[in-house]
């Protein structure tokens, strides 16, 4: 394990997060997708994009997520430069390669996840965040690899690991390569556990399929944001199969809590504090060092 790690270490660290565009969207006023209230942009930013009127947790991008988590928005990326590989030469109504370039051009991210390390209330942690706007946050080989590299970075440096998931599931365009990333991420998390390092899995709206059925459900602590929708099969497919109307709140955080799938629901504005607090209990030894 160690040897493999040393080999890739020099190439995967990049230290220029400040070159990225500001995560704050351009418009000064924004409307809440839930209650339609028009809210002043800086107020929304201040409130971590939780609607100041109705409390709705508006979806945010991976980099935005990191900015709320790491102190002073400072973090170093892990395996930042890996590029998507078209294993199957996949083409549906569009070429996979073209879908990838479209996503890159649209949101200026290379893939559907960011992995990084930095300080959280002065404590070093490793974190990964899914980017839903990049092909629905779907997990293909690069997502699996960047997640796994982040886990092994945590193992090597003896740091806690946090993942903010949001994903439509395994990426169809890499078929079995994608499916097998579920096994890969699960196996990596075993090694984290073996090293007695905690994994905090944060479930954010939405998570389905292969990401729900692997890394997202494997947290030592599973935390969900309010009203996040998380399940294995999407509601549309279930409804078509069982031909009954789905109950209110089906697959929402409150449903997950009731059915024993998560430890707690935590509002976005309190996440950083809560994660820090949990990590301090699960991994106190490193705290003293």
């Amino acid at each position: 394990m160690k040897k493999w790690f040393d080999k890739i270490l020099p190439s995967f660290i990049r230290q220029n997060p400040e070159e990225r565009p500001s995560p704050i969207p351009q418009g000064l006023w924004q409307s809440c997708p839930n209650c339609n209230e028009i809210i002043y942009g800086p107020d929304l930013e201040e409130n971590h994009y939780v609607c100041t009127n109705c409390g709705h947790h508006i979806r945010i991008g991976a980099r935005h997520r990191m900015s709320y988590f790491f102190d002073n928005n400072e973090y170093q990326e892990i395996s930042e430069s890996i590029e998507t590989k078209d294993w199957l030469d996949f083409k549906d109504t569009k070429k996979y390669k073209d879908r990838i370039s479209e996503s890159i051009n649209k949101i200026n991210e290379k893939e559907a996840i960011i992995s990084a390390y930095g300080k959280v209330k002065d404590r070093e942690m490793v974190a990964a965040a899914f980017e839903f706007r990049f092909m629905g946050g779907s997990m293909g080989s690069v997502v699996g690899q960047k997640f796994t590299d982040a886990v092994y970075y945590a193992v090597d440096k003896k740091l806690p690991f946090v993942c903010f998931s949001t994903s439509g599931g395994a990426r169809m365009q890499e078929s079995l390569v994608s499916l097998f990333q579920m096994a890969k991420t699960a196996a990596a998390l075993n090694d984290l556990k073996q090293a007695k390092l905690p994994f905090i899995s944060v479930l954010t709206d939405p998570i389905y399929g292969g990401v729900a059925a692997s890394l997202a459900m494997l947290g030592d602590v599973n935390i969900a944001e309010p009203k996040a929708q998380v399940g294995f099969t999407g509601p549309r497919v279930i409804e078509q199969t069982v031909r009954v109307k789905l109950p209110d709140g089906f697959q929402k955080s409150e449903f997950l809590l009731k059915h024993g799938m998560i430890d707690m629901i935590v509002p976005r504005t309190e996440l950083k504090e809560k994660i820090f607090n949990l990590v301090s209990k699960l991994s106190p030894k490193i705290d003293e060092a």
Partner: protein
């Protein structure tokens, strides 16, 4: 159940019909026999031609053939002394997954596999091989039992996918599958995985992580069923054939991608044409794999398994 043929198997079925007609005719027995012999030769020739050139979609059809042998056939034909172990000890017993202990060449083994069911009643009881969380949890329980009592696990995969139901979600389909991945990647006993029919999505992978992953020649394995992939990506489930092609879900493509370790040859015309022979080929494969695994100590075995898992889709 009357024998049914796939569309592309029609030329074979026509010749078999001729043989049947001959046998019931009033002609001299030696005349009949010589005609039957030549028809049989013709059948072999046509079958060889057809099966040497199957398209991906035809392979999908063979993988789902109504007469394709099931896990329960293989249990009966390959193993001895089988006892079914039922229940997940939490909620129930999922009939879409069968698990149990048996002996193979005199040694104990743990068998776990999907069972789609034979007749209509059986199919319904087994939910067409689509497991709910209890099925995966039963599988995990039995894997741990195998670890505790030092016997290898052999899994047989044949499922369209996990069952998409309300109760599956309530009882944590995602968690059950995720947990199994975690269990299998560190289970301290050999795991031999064989995809015998359909390997559909997380429902397949939930019993599909191991030391050797092989596929029967005409089995399929993909991130989602062709129909599901078509409806997600094309937004049109009638594009299943295109989806099957695009996902390269057949054994030869997946071997080339190093996602599986071996292709197990099927008898002429597919496993359903000669279940006895298929079982004997499988039995040789299992022998070989168990021998290979037993030559490694557990920590080497786990290191090799870990390396294999990490190699999936690894980018240089």
């Amino acid at each position: 159940m009357s024998y049914s043929f796939l569309d592309f198997e029609k030329p074979i079925s026509l010749l078999e019909k001729k043989i049947e007609d001959l046998r019931s005719s009033q002609d001299q027995p030696d005349v009949i026999q010589s005609q039957v012999d030549s028809l049989n030769k013709e059948i072999i020739k046509i079958t060889k031609e057809l099966y040497s050139n199957l398209s991906i979609w035809q392979k999908v059809q063979v993988a789902r053939h109504p007469h394709r042998p099931h896990f329960s056939d293989y249990i009966e034909k390959i193993f001895h002394n089988f006892d079914e172990h039922r229940g997940d000890r939490n909620f129930g017993d999922d009939r879409a997954i069968i698990g149990g202990t048996a002996t193979f060449k005199g040694k104990p083994v743990m068998l776990i596999g999907h069972e789609k069911g034979k007749d209509t009643k059986d199919k319904i009881e087994r939910n067409f091989g689509m497991s709910q969380p209890e099925g995966y949890r039963k599988a995990a329980r039995l894997m741990k039992l195998a670890e505790d009592f030092s016997m290898p696990v052999i899994t047989f995969i044949d499922t369209p996918g996990a069952y998409p139901g309300i109760e599956s979600e309530e009882r944590g389909n995602s968690q059950a599958i995720a947990y199994n991945l975690s269990v299998m990647s560190k289970l301290k006993t050999p795991i031999i995985v064989i995809i015998t029919g359909e390997g559909g999505s997380g429902g397949a992978l939930a019993i599909g992580v191991g030391d050797n992953i092989s596929m029967l020649e005409y089995s399929i394995y993909s991130v989602a069923s062709p129909e599901a992939c078509a409806s997600i990506v094309w937004r049109d489930s009638s594009k299943a054939e295109d989806a099957a092609k695009a996902m390269k879900l057949d054994a030869s493509n997946l071997l080339e991608l190093s996602l599986i370790d071996k292709i197990i040859d099927e008898p002429l015309g597919g496993a359903h044409r000669d279940i006895q022979k298929m079982s004997s080929v499988l039995s040789d494969h299992i022998s070989e794999q168990l021998e290979k695994c037993s030559s490694l100590n557990i920590s080497d075995l786990l290191n090799e398994r870990h390396k294999k898992i990490m190699s999936y889709g690894a980018i240089e």
